[in-house]
Symmetry: D2
């Protein structure tokens, strides 16, 4: 880790004055923390320097809570692109508020931050335990979603008007920044509103999150397209199956799909540059030798090979060049020029991958994320996210969570395993 100073202090709304109604639960010890870095040499270095090695607050229910449950109203909002597990998290929050804390007033704000803005005239939906009981069996989000920000002050006005005590925000980078802005405005006005985030990123690219919810479901779905690409590639002379997978800046879906599904011959990710010439040469060699090839490309890969664009999507992300159709066109053109007839099939399963229901792992994981988000909010934490950093659930301040992206290390074990699995050369 480059940063020498990592401050994981979690903001609190104030002192916890109420006894938790969860009389039979085991409460987290307020002092319990987990080391951020488990390399003994790093820890020793901190201690030699007289400092404290950075650590994170553990998640879990607290004996003393900040809000009076009988009086509390909560809100939930889902933002950004779809991701398997959104409904699971919504459901877990509603269930935990109701069954663990007897909170009966939970509102879903429709269509992301739009639902918090009076300009859009959406109406919050009161969520009951019955309403959410089965929603995790469906993909998507029952609340709807939208991209982009809304006026922070207006959103806080809505929270105040609706007497919301805890706002749960489920979303990615941009959404969490919006949550940070809301939390700051809340603090500026001296309000007692907690903002608790559950980081959503199908790309698995948020720092301090080992495996983001929905990611395993996504890899599993991606694999179906790889099997199809392989059937198409082997079903035709010089068949090429080209699959574009999600991954704007981090190629984790592409990389893990290549590990789980060995039919992949080339895996291209945003973190590892490649040249078109070398790639086409490798592909041609393989077709000559084997008669077919399967190529998987993360959407953010090879951006330097295409014309730059300055357009942005409503979330504020720069619109990526479409590497999938770019490669399709270039591969086709290349072999047309060289007089070799090939059969390329291009598959883009993005909507399918993000819209299926969560698998068993992600369902259980989302349940725990939602429960811990509720515990954090009830205990008066704010401007933080609940994450599992491979060491149990912990709290991380939103500003820290969005401070940088998690990416594949081209010099690390994961990329080495991908190269070993695909058999592709390091230089491509």
């Amino acid at each position: 880790m480059q940063n020498t100073k990592l401050d994981f202090t979690i903001s609190r709304l104030g002192e916890c004055r109420f006894l938790s109604p969860m009389s039979t639960m085991h409460f987290a010890d307020e002092e319990e923390r987990v080391l951020y870095d488990n390399d003994p040499r790093v820890v020793a270095r901190y201690l030699r320097a007289g400092g404290t090695p950075p650590s994170l607050e553990k998640a879990g229910p607290r004996k003393m809570i900040f809000f009076d449950p009988s009086d509390l109203r909560c809100g939930i909002v889902t933002c950004g692109g779809l991701c398997p597990g959104l409904n699971d998290v919504i459901r877990a929050i509603v269930m935990s508020l109701f069954y663990n804390y007897r909170v009966r007033s939970v509102y879903g704000f429709p269509y992301g931050y739009e639902g918090l803005s009076p300009r859009h005239n959406h109406h919050p939906v009161k969520l009951s335990v019955e309403m959410v009981a089965k929603i995790h069996e469906q993909g998507g989000t029952i609340l709807g979603s939208s991209r982009g920000q809304q006026d922070v002050s207006e959103m806080v006005d809505t929270l105040v008007r609706m007497k919301i005590g805890i706002l749960f925000i489920i979303g990615g980078d941009g959404t969490l920044r919006g949550g940070d802005a809301i939390a700051r405005e809340v603090q500026r006005r001296g309000l007692e509103i907690s903002v608790i985030g559950v980081p959503k990123t199908i790309d698995n690219d948020i720092s301090f999150v080992e495996r983001s919810f929905g990611f395993e479901t996504a890899v599993s779905e991606a694999g179906k397209s790889i099997l199809v690409a392989h059937a198409e590639a082997t079903g035709a002379r010089n068949g090429v199956g080209l699959v574009k997978l999600m991954g704007r800046e981090s190629g984790f879906i592409a990389a893990f799909s290549a590990l789980a599904y060995n039919d992949v011959n080339y895996c291209l990710v945003p973190e590892v540059a490649f040249t078109l010439e070398r790639f086409l040469k490798r592909l041609e060699e393989r077709l000559d030798k084997k008669g077919h090839a399967v190529v998987v490309v993360g959407e953010g890969a090879g951006q330097d090979l295409m014309e730059k664009t300055l357009e942005r999507d409503p979330s504020g992300n720069i619109r990526l060049g479409d590497i999938g159709s770019f490669l399709r066109d270039r591969i086709t053109a290349h072999f047309k020029n060289s007089g070799k007839e090939i059969n390329l099939k291009y598959i883009d399963p993005s909507y399918t991958i993000r819209s299926v229901p969560a698998n068993a792992h992600d369902s259980a994981y989302c349940l725990l994320l939602g429960q811990n988000a509720v515990h954090a909010g009830m205990a008066g934490r704010t401007n933080m996210v609940v994450v599992d950093w491979g060491i149990g659930f912990t709290h991380v301040p939103i500003p820290m969570a969005v401070s940088r992206r998690k990416r594949i290390d081209p010099d690390g074990w994961l990329w080495d395993a991908v190269l070993a699995s695909t058999g592709q050369p390091r230089e491509i």
Copy 2:
């Protein structure tokens, strides 16, 4: 049925002189036929006129066979686009030849009719029972496929050179016409080579075939895209999920998907014309009322709405206009003009649908098709296909099978059921 004269006479290579080695099997009665039309009024009409109502020869093993199994060499070729079940049919043919008739020389010709043409320099693969034992667990075809015809005379030369007695062709309309040409050339030369077809059409559009192999798997896969389209449509304000499904001239996949998956709000098929104006109006009304919509469109629908093209694909089919992207663009443009922000997601699962392994129904069905194709060939039938016309397996002459396409009757029960299921108006 309009045709008054339907001649279902099956061509034969000659007299059956060998006793079937299947001593314990039950043999089909040579006289057994099934009525083509089961309407008692039609049958009575034929009989009143002193004629015979048209009927089809029943499929099944015969006691006396034409070929000497110990001496026989067979060939298999798969042509055209992929379809679930191709490997199942290949496997069933090899297994039945080996276990039922002790035929040990079965060759797979690679890449469709190309494999029969000396120009392409492909090498036939000798197929053993061990090699094909597990192939049905994978999509695609282990033989590879290609589109388009090859020189008929050259292909027959190959069959002669390789001493092939029965050629099994698995393919669609164009492939079967090719098979007819081969059978005629064989007859012209006075050869004893049988040509037996297994009709392949994921669109389910071949006449005299009730449900073509792979069709049920296709509908099931199509349904996954409909669920995704629904999750996407409900996950965004004014969400529209648009799914393009296969169906060049017949919309059976779209229609049955709409029956099996009730999230479909509009089902557009080639057989039923629609105007863009009316469709856009209906869509807008629905978005105003419900906030989302799912549209399924068969690829051959709405061709009159687009610019005509005269291009043809290698199979000789006219290249269809791409109704999927056409609708996507028109819907987007329409709402941009009318100032309503919508969220359209366009899903084209075609490769996935055609490349998955067959489901249990199609696997069992392909097994029976393959076995009956072998029985027909061994009994010296030629220039025919094996079909299940809902009344058991029967033989149909290739020229009759390709004489017209099966299509949805806009005035029939199926389309009525689709309208009832989607709730869409008859006029759209």
Copy 3:
């Protein structure tokens, strides 16, 4: 067919006096029938004898209907064991009544015929379109089920008290007999209550029904157990995977599973007797040669090998001996005696098979069954079932439908195909 006299006349409550509200639908022609037997020789024989070949009334909407939709109240009841597709049929009936005929009063009677008996004190549930919209995504039946009869007179009293005009009964043999009794009592009292059945039999053993709803889903689920049995059998020295499948009197699930999943080495069904000695000898030979074996047995197979019982289940069926554990014990004992160590794994997936949601095929099929049941009831038909006899949907009188069971013909094509697929000898 043995019976020379097959009377398929459908009972009617009276003259149809109301115009169907389905103005845009295409109505079935009242004269339209389909031949019961499509063998031209059979038809000719009838005609030569001056008779009419037996035929069935076609299903479908009628222009004139018996009931006044604005005034009609309908009931639905599900009886007997679970079967994939029950919820699909319930849903289709409610949807069709509402959308096609604007009938708004539909009641579900809970727990089978118990729900119609005042003794059990269950309360009928009013079913709305919203309530049933998603139920087909779950297995089981939302109405609950029970086995066994109730007092017919009391059930009719309930129908009268609740002013039910059409009672839809979804169930097997025993249930349909109960429906016949209700229809006779209704007629005796001169009431205008229609009784329409949808035959439910996961065993696929009802006459005049080509493939009963849920059957394909059942075969597909059964296949998962076969794959597991194969993994277990090959994973241990002298491994034997033994799978018991449903099929009290007809072994269709076992037979089609053996066709769809080629890992089956022995398929035992109720229709084909076998001796324990021969079977154990064959098994031993196979273990010596191949080291593993997969055996599939239909629950009604080999009943003559076990002690007879006279017990009956609440549906009135004789309790079958448990052939699965019987075989497990006998195989184990045999090899213990002969000193060969084997590893037998016994798998009974019955509950799983019957409780999963319907697959795409069965979903679409149940939709059409439900719609046609509604059309039949609205047109005043009674004491009949809706079936697909491979020739489109038709009406069959209940007494005829339950007059005999459909069974595998040991001398027919299906059993031959099973023998060819498993490689097992005819004599076992």
Copy 4:
């Protein structure tokens, strides 16, 4: 952690004298370790006492290796019960030896340790890359498995005779103890044979392993039975769905299934005692209120309620009482006595759960386990297992890995989450 002394020193065969042929790989730093306990207070305590906090050696490829790849012969053996992912691990080991180290001689010993014993007369199979390419698509193990030990000296003789340099053992507790014995005998004789274990436990109960391979697949499969149990329970009056899941001493499968599938009302695990009286009372209350219940029980739960047995299985484990049938019988008897008719369906999906192919997550995980096992063996490590302790892959000495079981902490977050999810009281 109770133990104050945790020695994670890994045994080595000797000095690494060969340069790894993986010229482009990134090698693990020999000094790199990870802290075993990430609680900062624990670490501080060690340091205050002048000691070193316990840590584990990191897994990964080493620049210098012990064996000369050109000369090396390796063996693989799979022992104990089946588990999803066995074939994935076999495949990964063969692939990594071949592609990463150019080792061409890899032998599979059939049927567990039996394959290493001359008494059983099994013949080792030479494994090629082609042979293992697709095996991960099937459940079970292509090598076969067996339970129980063999004579250690004889097994080492076999290794010597076959000139095996690295023996990879994939198995549970007992298997690993056997591996420890082999490694000790190897050391006693002064041989250069490495023994590398990959811990297999579908119960997820091996210490220092966060999530054992196959566990996620198992939970996912278990969930299908829970859905079925729910359909059965709701489909009958007073329906009870009872599901027995694996878990001899640790109830992780039951617990995570209850988290992922919310239809579970009671989850019983070996770690948490319950009384029959209380449980039956709770169940009765629930049936009175809701009319149905789903109960999940881990196989080792409630052993104190049944007669003790002293029998052992061939692996040396005490035969557990069958809690599933015990509960089934007791529940049935209880309600028969109390005169309430219930409908209990008992489901035991154990064979299915353990014999399905690994899901995407487990496939990728097994690949990494296999690769790291190969790296460890090549670097001359021995008597150790490769594990992922949630902090990346590490090496753990076999004696330490089998020193105690991992179990659910009844006072920890997991059990609390289960209680929150099922709604069952802590005391049952």
